[in-house]
């Protein structure tokens, strides 16, 4: 084992902080993590200013403003290994819905004085801007994945984080398949596993928090659900959430009709799918 503890930084871009909080949520392992690494920058946990270099940078959030582009390059330059955490960082997040529409219209709908807002037309994943060494998917990320990432990095091995479908884990748990037995549309077949199959365990279709599974066939599922009679709007909404801009998902839907978009994302929106 290296004698010097690796220095870790946790950084935030356009995001809700939920993924960073998953790190604090690692209650059982938190002390061991604090023991094994040096926390160099982590505003949710310490007030240390941003200085020096990092062995591991955990980056949450997407790039949605001009100054964030500069910041992410700065962090990349300071870091040996850069890991994106969560759907915002890996796919642009829910805020990437703007990529399908005109952001100025959103601004005038939401803000009283939209002229004060300096924002990009798009919300894009970190990997569109700098080299990324590893990504942890999810909205939020799995705390087990965070611990595994850190353990693996400390041990100098590849993290044990599968990229296959949710279905594999769903079947390992012995759950009854929702689309087959109930006609409930579920994104499990095209979604990367890792959440612990939460939604199907509660009799809800997977809605794709972990983004597309590795080498999947999104169109195949879309067509299967279409021919099973799932309405277009339902499919569009299913694919238009946290990972809407992920390659694979983003080509697979028509752009969402304006009314539905405002219904699912507006302040106090119902979040209906």
């Amino acid at each position: 084992m290296a004698t010097k503890k690796p220095r870790i930084g946790v950084f935030k871009f356009a995001s809700c902080d939920g993924c960073q909080l998953s790190l604090l949520d690692c209650e059982d392992e938190l002390l061991a993590i604090a023991d094994a690494v040096e926390i160099g920058y982590f505003l949710e946990a310490t007030r240390k200013p941003l200085t020096g270099e990092f062995d591991i940078a955990l980056v949450e959030g997407s790039i949605s403003t001009p100054e964030q582009i500069e910041q992410i390059h700065d962090i990349r330059n300071r870091s040996r290994m850069l890991v994106t955490i969560g759907a915002c960082a890996t796919a642009g997040g829910i805020q990437a819905l703007r990529n399908f529409a005109d952001v100025r219209e959103f601004l005038s709908a939401v803000y009283a004085s939209p002229e004060y807002i300096d924002t990009l037309k798009t919300s894009t994943p970190i990997a569109d801007h700098v080299r990324v060494d590893f990504e942890l998917r999810g909205c939020p990320v799995s705390k087990h994945h965070l611990v595994e990432l850190i353990s693996a990095t400390l041990a100098g091995r590849r993290p044990n984080i599968p990229r296959h479908s949710v279905c594999i884990d769903c079947k390992r748990l012995g759950l009854t398949c929702l689309p087959v037995a109930y006609g409930i549309p579920c994104l499990g077949p095209i979604t990367q596993s890792g959440c612990g199959v939460i939604c199907p365990s509660y009799h809800r279709g997977c809605y794709g928090c972990f983004g597309p599974a590795h080498r999947t066939n999104v169109q195949g599922l879309v067509r299967a659900y279409q021919s099973a009679g799932v309405p277009e709007e339902t499919l569009d909404l299913l694919l238009h959430t946290f990972n809407a801009w992920a390659p694979g998902f983003r080509e697979s839907t028509r752009s969402v009709p304006e009314e539905l978009l405002s219904r699912s994302t507006g302040p106090g929106g119902s979040g209906e799918r």
């Binding site: 296959h164 079947k171 009854t176 195949g220």
Partner: protein, 375 residues
């Protein structure tokens, strides 16, 4: 094993279950759970989904109640016996750093002593296939857990007198009559079962119940329903020359066609009672002082499963579908001397895209020899 055939009145079925329990078995049988009939702990006859009928078709499963007095009017749901004999996730051992060395602790549990009740011909044919995979007759390379679970297990089968639209055991020669593995075979009549012991272990279970002997008429009548089911079963696979047919059609354009529909989700392999792929997961703790090795079931549809020498060998969905179908129906014969498919139809029902192996095989046969355009 020809020999005495008994009558088990339905009202005494509970006695059989109690007997098994008293003998130290963990009894597993069909129960209704979460919208499907699955194998799980069976304590009482009241748990048997009597009179339920499963309507199965490609990508669709639905239960309806029929008014008959019959108990076993359903066929198996998504879960097979594989789950019990080869658990989906199993801890094998842990290692700990200990000074300059390491300390090894075996964590693989001792399997329970299962009695599987109400299992079908296809389930048992699948166990016979998995025996060839996991149990080495020379005893050198057997899978420890599977072999131990298998050695202790007792199988009380029921012969199917009805079948689902996805069943095709009769054309695979695996059912609905039970030819494999069973210790007792039950045949259903209105108010009773005809019970045939097929092994000493099976006879030992029935003897203490002091059952009356069945008449030949009872046996023949019960058998008649089974033969009728076999004769009526519409779904079929033409096995003529099947191995060579598939292996000479590796470039058939059908693989690309099915790949537009196949999602590579792996549900087919997960529900298939003979599929045996697994992988190991090594987990270390944060201090790096302790590691655990687990075994999990895996699938040839998982692209990372074919990772070797730094690349994923089967990247396209077409190559993964082709691997699955040609393994089941062709190279399995080379490897294990039998077909890898027992015709249970699970992969057809539980495929969210409704892809049907029997249809894919027919399509290959119909287009035998066609090749995709070379680029």
């Amino acid at each position: 094993m020809a020999g005495t055939v008994y009558v088990l009145p339905k009202e005494r079925f509970q006695e059989l279950l109690d007997r098994l329990k008293a003998d130290g078995y963990q009894v597993v049988g069909p129960v209704l759970r979460d919208g499907a009939i699955v194998y799980d702990d069976l304590h009482s006859v009241d748990q048997i989904p009597r009179g339920w009928v499963d309507q199965q078709e490609p990508g669709r499963y639905q239960l309806v109640h029929d008014r008959s007095q019959r108990w076993f009017t359903f066929t198996p749901g998504p879960l097979s016996l594989k789950r019990f004999l080869f658990p989906p996730s199993l801890s094998l051992f842990r290692v700990r750093r200990n000074g300059d060395g390491v300390q090894l602790q075996v964590t693989m549990p001792e399997p329970p002593r299962y009695a599987f009740v109400g299992v079908r011909a296809c389930d048992l044919a699948a166990v016979a296939v998995q025996d060839r995979v996991y149990i080495d007759r020379q005893g050198l390379f057997s899978d420890g857990y599977y072999a131990a679970a298998r050695r202790k297990a007792l199988f009380i089968a029921v012969e199917c007198q009805s079948y689902a639209a996805t069943c095709f055991c009769s054309s695979m020669g695996t059912g609905p009559e039970v030819n494999h593995t069973a210790d007792v075979v039950l045949l259903e009549l209105e108010d009773r079962f005809v019970a045939q012991p097929r092994s000493e272990r099976g006879a030992a279970v029935l003897t203490p119940l002091a059952l009356e002997q069945a008449t030949d008429e009872e046996l023949q009548r019960a058998k008649h329903y089974v033969r009728q089911a076999a004769a009526d079963m519409e779904r079929q696979v033409d096995l003529t020359d099947i191995r060579d047919l598939l292996l000479r059609n590796l470039e058939n354009p059908r693989w690309d066609q099915v790949a537009t529909r196949c999602i590579a989700c792996a549900n087919c392999t997960m529900v298939c009672p003979t599929c045996f792929c697994f992988s190991f997961q090594e987990v270390t703790d944060l201090t790096g002082n302790e590691a655990e090795r687990r075994r999990v079931v895996d699938s040839c549809f998982n692209p990372e499963f074919s990772y070797a020498f730094g690349v994923e060998v089967r990247q396209s969905v077409a190559s993964r579908y082709r691997q699955w179908l040609t393994h089941k129906f062709a190279t399995w014969y080379d490897q294990f001397g039998v077909s890898g498919c027992v015709g249970c139809g699970r992969c057809i029902t539980w495929c969210p895209a409704g892809i049907d192996v029997t249809e894919e095989l027919s399509a290959i046969r119909a287009s035998d020899g066609s090749r995709k355009e070379q680029l």
